[in-house]
Symmetry: C2
Subunit: 602 residues, 2 copies
């Protein structure tokens, strides 16, 4: 597809580039004497110059002849240059920042482009919300390439979202310049079952000659995976076992090896590369979801790169996996992903191939970051009010709203076996576990001894008043309650707690501030991160957001939870497209059979 993400289309530049390459016109910029990571041939070319004009690469070699009056010369002796990193699958919203601030956070870490699926905001505000984020992103140098959310709601019939997307919406969005493909097709059951809705979305994307991105999250790599790949799904970031990633590559699907803030699949998945003597062109390295704290402390794709190398993937190969392999996945390798003539001058400067620290970042020939700091800024983005006022519960919640009635016939003092959602820190999967809860006053309550907590999901988009009830196991909380409007993928209001009063307080606090994350105990708000943009994001910078999130995570510890990124883990409780047991505003869902199930085990 045509690339709309460079400063100028190539056809407006070819005469200039040809002249610059031959020294007939001075370059805008010349990088001198770098060790160039050539991702085409997988070599390092020492002492190499790059001449740039029109935001594109005109010449690679010994470029003194390209230097004229007005040429900016950047001495890169002793430094490594590589193509700007491309993240093949990310959700900006996970950073809790708007796209503009997200760009300021990731570009200094070497990221030139992202293939983003804004499906969090889309679940809340529909494609209109996506458009607003795209406007914010377009002000930045980051190439923010959208894959239109495909699964809104994530699993139709199992939850209520703020909006829904179908084949006709997909067809419409494919005409937008900023859209390069279809967002992760999480509805793999629909693809496998051959539903018109899922296949209609695939069809509209394929007809537009754009790329279908995937999400095949079960450890099955035979008939189902073949069916999924045969349906035109070009890549998938959901492998958790090395053999599944390997199977995807063998089937010609790009295996996007993930290392996000809360899901650290890469060390396991790297074995697909390091244990097999294979061509790795079908491997990508991606982040999926990155927390502000990770962005500030560890970085973005540069961090993933360092982890990949620690896992035994050779540095050049790992760089290919976040440059040319990604561009090829999206069939944009004619424009992006290598430092070769004609391509966008997106270039990351690294201190060395051992340390892999980003020292400078160039996009479209402009230096846009130095020493970890973005060099671009602009006025605060004016979000419209419908974006910043997205909490529509329709009522204030009372402690009584959090009562859970025991099943009919269960007498006080007896125990009821209930399904609980067992969460696993650092993994996207949950398990269904069964626990015996005591009946008191005809009700079931949180059981701190078993580490089992009441969990509610309230619809918050259209004042329907619907809610689902369940229990979660594994948080380690001893008092208080937590609530969040970051609750994948419908982003309804999720509340987990030890007692009804604190749960009500947590819920109402978020309803009042436009959404966010809150920790309360004993009638007091211990920590609050306001996320007024669709209840998902703030427009603060990464450092501030990281501090705020760090502070609230401390309050989790205060009430007894010690897991890393507890809000990110908690936020997946409603995600009905992943195994095994989840809770939405409509009830408990068995995500292996896609059936609603009762709280009580028969």
């Amino acid at each position: 597809m045509l690339n709309h993400f460079c400063s100028k289309p190539l056809w407006e530049c070819t005469q200039t580039l040809a002249a610059v390459a031959q020294g007939a016109r001075p370059a805008d910029v010349v990088i001198k004497g770098a060790d160039l990571v050539n991702v085409c041939t997988a070599e390092v070319q020492p002492g190499t110059d790059v001449a740039i004009a029109c935001g594109r690469i005109a010449y690679v070699g010994q470029a003194d002849h390209c230097i004229g009056e007005g040429t900016r010369v950047i001495d890169a002796a002793g430094q490594v240059i590589a193509p700007g990193f491309l993240d093949g699958h990310i959700h900006v919203e996970s950073s809790m920042m708007g796209a503009g601030e997200y760009a300021r956070a990731v570009v200094p870490h070497g990221t030139a482009g992202i293939y983003w699926d804004p499906h969090e905001i889309c679940n809340v505000l529909g494609l209109d919300g996506v458009k607003v984020m795209m406007e914010d992103a377009a002000r930045t140098p980051l190439k923010a390439m959208v894959t239109t959310p495909s699964c809104v709601p994530a699993v139709p019939g199992f939850e209520d979202t703020g909006a829904s997307v179908g084949p006709a919406d997909i067809a419409e969005s494919m005409t937008w310049d900023g859209v390069v493909g279809l967002g992760e097709m999480m509805n793999f059951p629909g693809v496998l079952a051959g539903t018109d809705h899922a296949h209609g979305e695939l069809a509209e994307t394929l007809k537009a000659d754009k790329v279908v991105t995937g999400h095949y999250s079960i450890p099955e790599a035979d008939r189902g995976l073949n069916a999924y790949v045969a349906s035109g799904v070009r890549c998938c970031h959901e492998s958790t076992r090395a053999e599944d990633a390997l199977a995807k590559m063998r089937l010609g699907q790009y295996a996007q090896l993930r290392y996000g803030s809360a899901w650290h699949d890469l060390p396991e998945l790297a074995h697909a590369i390091t244990d097999h003597d294979i061509d790795t062109r079908f491997a990508n390295l991606i982040s999926d979801d990155t927390h502000p704290h990770t962005l500030v402390e560890d970085g973005h794709l540069d961090h993933v790169l360092r982890v990949a190398v620690q896992c035994g993937i050779p540095a050049i190969e790992a760089i290919q996996m976040m440059t040319i392999n990604v561009a090829t996945c999206f069939r944009m390798d004619n424009e992006l992903g290598s430092i070769t003539p004609g391509k966008c001058a997106d270039i990351v400067f690294l201190d060395s191939l051992d340390a892999l620290n980003v020292t400078r970042m160039m996009i479209d020939g402009e230096v846009v970051a130095e020493d970890g700091k973005p060099l671009f800024d602009y006025p605060r983005f004016e979000f419209p009010e419908w974006v910043t006022h997205s909490m529509h519960l329709g009522r204030t919640l009372a402690p009584e709203d959090f009562a859970v009635a025991a099943p009919e016939g269960a007498v006080d003092g007896s125990a009821v076996k209930v399904r609980a959602i067992e969460i696993v820190p650092g993994k996207v999967g949950t398990f269904e576990t069964h626990v015996d809860l005591a009946v008191e006053d005809g009700q079931l309550a949180s059981d701190l001894g078993q580490d089992v907590l009441k969990t509610f999901v309230f619809e918050r988009h259209h004042e329907t008043g619907t809610f689902g009830v369940g229990f979660a196991k594994g948080f380690g909380i001893k008092r208080g309650a937590m609530a969040s409007t970051v609750a994948h993928d419908a982003h309804n209001l999720l509340v987990v707690g030890t007692n009804d009063a604190d749960m009500a307080l947590a819920a109402n606090t978020l309803a009042e501030c436009g959404g966010g994350m809150v920790v309360v105990a004993d009638g007091e708000v211990l920590g609050l991160v306001e996320l007024p943009i669709a209840g998902l994001m703030n427009d603060l910078g990464a450092a501030e957001m990281s501090e705020k999130v760090h502070a609230i995570e401390q309050t989790w510890a205060d009430i007894g939870c010690t897991m890393p990124s507890p809000f990110m883990t908690m936020a997946l409780i409603p995600l009905a497209c992943l195994p095994e047991l989840r809770l939405t505003n409509r009830g408990l869902v068995d995500c292996t059979t896609f059936q609603f199930v009762d709280l009580a085990v028969e």
Copy 2:
């Protein structure tokens, strides 16, 4: 770009493919127990089944569950299967057959698709001629993907052709479903000089999101090559030195390593691969021009594959270079080039990875060739009369027309130093050499002692009466004359001979029969291959054409020439886009400086 070369677009097949992969619907065909060459991971997967439906691959694995009533099961135990071969750059016309018969000749050798540049017929009959060939090709299973001829005439101002092509024509052709890119941009001097004509053609192709194919034929891999690549030229088949092919790959340009009937560059170019530890994804193997004799005796890409392996390129890597690497070059790897789900079921069956003999060929899920024989046929294509009557000389030539006057002032008995075109068997390049010719009767004649022959090129498209005169060295002819209307790229009437009477006879013989190749001696026609389709092709099959060409080549031997494929070598004498010295209907051209030069050296 959208693929228009499969039986059905993917979006019409996904539901069926998903069902077949899971055993919910029987496959049309199942291939059982093959050793599958996986070009994605560069492995062989032994004992692998492939299930096919809608002409596409539904499943790869153990496919018993895909077999139902009506499923054709092909036992491939002990056989190797690989993706159908793709030739990234060829000219059908070089086979001297129409596209229909060409398809019948190459498909049994494993060729599933060709990226062809019909610039021979375009030089004679313009884009209308191209359309006629496309119609013929479209009747066959071969995916005949056109790159629109970019350089008609090859070097504007230096020759007269039957038609011309400019940016507006390119723009128009880019709307045709059968066109995937721009044909070899031979006018690299125009690209380097930044002419509006050359860059206009590039721009129209890039705007249409299609691929620009290249032709950069000078041994320069620095400023000029960078300028050329920066102008958007994606691939180039003109390397003759390993270092040039390597430079192209390093610059992100696909190096199309050539092994054609008359130009055997591969053994030299293979060193770019075998002498360097590089990622070879930017290497392609291509044929460019293949003679009918080669097709019959040696094969097509299967032959190139065997040569590549003899040159030390590992078989799987060589197969990648004629499958996935080619599809990726043309950004069609989502549809072609691998045996993976969703792709077109274009599959070549090989006896082994050692012998690499093609035993069966499948395209779009249909077996289209077995044991070297095509299984498809159809009525003779009806070429319109303007295609079969393309000789427009305007007069009958007489022996006096072949007199070459000595330079003014040169006296009988003296010697004149003239420029001669020295031909090199098996190479596309010629050299400029200087020879002393005796002046007799105020004229210069062929000098058999020095192996130097009079050479004429007559315009034959529009009865302009123009012609060019020169001398060629190296044919070894002792008597008679040869003429041909296959005379790149203008395909004017080329005549080389030892005496004027035979030269006139040769020329007139072709004028009468609509074009072709002829050898005469002592007033007798010794051999004639009639090529009535634009003076370039016949509609006979490969075996017959091979026999005819073989027979006429024997007559070359009869008159003293022993070089292989002498007509193909001779046919490049007028090709003014290649170094060093060439002859067109307008005169002698120095193809290093692109200046007309005098016959006599100052």
